[in-house]
Subunit: 216 residues, 2 copies
DNA sequence: GTAACACCGGAGCGTTTCGCTCCGCAACTG
DNA sequence: CAGTTGCGGAGCGAAACGCTCCGGTGTTAC
């Protein structure tokens, strides 16, 4: 029961959460000092755990992928196809999956990351397929549409900015307002409305940003 | 007929458009050099027109407010309440109204800005009220919900990031995918689905970020 | 009780990037 | 062809960056 280990682990958790928050607010320019400060941890402690900024971000990506996959599995475990899909989407959005967008292309993608990412794609495909077969999801929506929707809603301009300005008093209200937007978007996924414009999006939109350009 | 004036005006337009683009990609950290470079204009030319970075951003805010108000007036001119509202929302989102979010609180709000902002609120209120009275908008959606939706969708993570990475080849596909998400969200605004979660959002969420904290 | 130790926070290093100034030069004008 | 206008960008001091390193503090072993 060494208190030392407890503190270390709590610091680690705080660091990862702070990194996600700061990343959401400042994007690629998120500074190590800002992350440490938000976590209430010294810079030295951060660098004892992660030798470099990139290593911290890679760890963060892995954890996000894990969360995505766990949420998808939980969704598949739900007997109701719509509740399962909707719960997955809500979970990913509120977790802040969109925060990682800014670092796409800025960090090296490890083998472990791409493996977990592939698994995530399969799980989401299964969720979407089941929803389609049950007729609870509008037919012209693809799995990639859902991915992009999660990324689009996964960052909240209002929440991020209020946090940056230190208006913590408004955060609960902003979170509530955000949940209403999520509900609106989810309702737009239900069957009934007319067809979506244009052709379904190409997968390269989601994967292409993480790898180097093929040419040029 | 003087070519000089023509070039100057074209440069000014390019600067403003470039500023909006760079602001969307880099947020608050958008650098003057990056804006000038994207506009294909020298830094000197930028500073001849705008004495300071803040002045450029203030001008940008004014133009965005003008666009908002003109789009709202066009929406009200549409005899179809739903088409008017939907056109307004689509227009604001594609114009990139959300790009200005990052500079809220970072620049001084002029009298002219708040006047135009107030007028924008009234126009949107009128649009929403007319849609409610015609029953084409779900009853539990407020004007503020629409404002926040525009801000949320007004920035496209995918488009911004692809542009930053120079993947211009993927931009049309990304724009198409984005339009699908907008269509989904708009469908979620139609009447029919169940009630939205929580209470309607408070107006301070939208206005509070532009002014200094009242206390502390 | 106290010496040895582990681990924390943050000052400070060199480097990069920032907002902005200033000036040489090209392009119109009369 | 001299005068004028307005362009592009090198370069300034200041600020912020990623990261190193060390004094101080609380924990452990005896």
């Amino acid at each position: 029961m060494s208190t030392r280990k407890d503190i270390a682990e709590r610091n680690d958790r705080a660091l990862l959460q702070a990194a996600r928050d700061v990343l959401a607010e400042d994007g690629v320019h998120a500074s190590v000092a800002a992350i440490a400060a938000r976590a209430g941890v010294g810079i030295g402690s951060l660098y004892r755990r992660y030798q470099t900024k990139e290593e911290l971000f890679q760890r963060l990506s892995l954890l996000s992928l894990d969360h995505w996959n766990e949420a998808a599995e939980q969704g598949l475990a739900d007997p109701d196809p719509w509740a399962g899909l909707a719960g997955f989407v809500r979970g990913c959005i509120e977790f802040g999956q969109g925060s990682l967008g800014p670092i796409a292309g800025a960090i090296e993608v490890t083998e472990e990351m791409s493996t977990k990412s592939r698994r995530g794609d399969e799980l989401l495909d299964a969720l979407v397929r089941r929803a389609h077969e049950s007729g609870v999801l509008r037919a012209d929506v693809t799995a990639l549409d859902i991915s992009l929707l999660i990324e689009q809603l996964g960052r909240s301009p209002v929440v991020d900015q209020l946090r940056k300005q230190g208006r913590d008093d408004l955060l609960p209200a902003a979170a509530g307002a955000r949940r209403r937007l999520i509900a609106i978007a989810l309702d737009g996924l239900r069957p009934g409305p007319g067809p979506l414009p244009g052709a379904p999006p190409d997968e390269i939109l989601f994967t292409g940003r993480w790898t180097d350009r093929p040419d040029a």
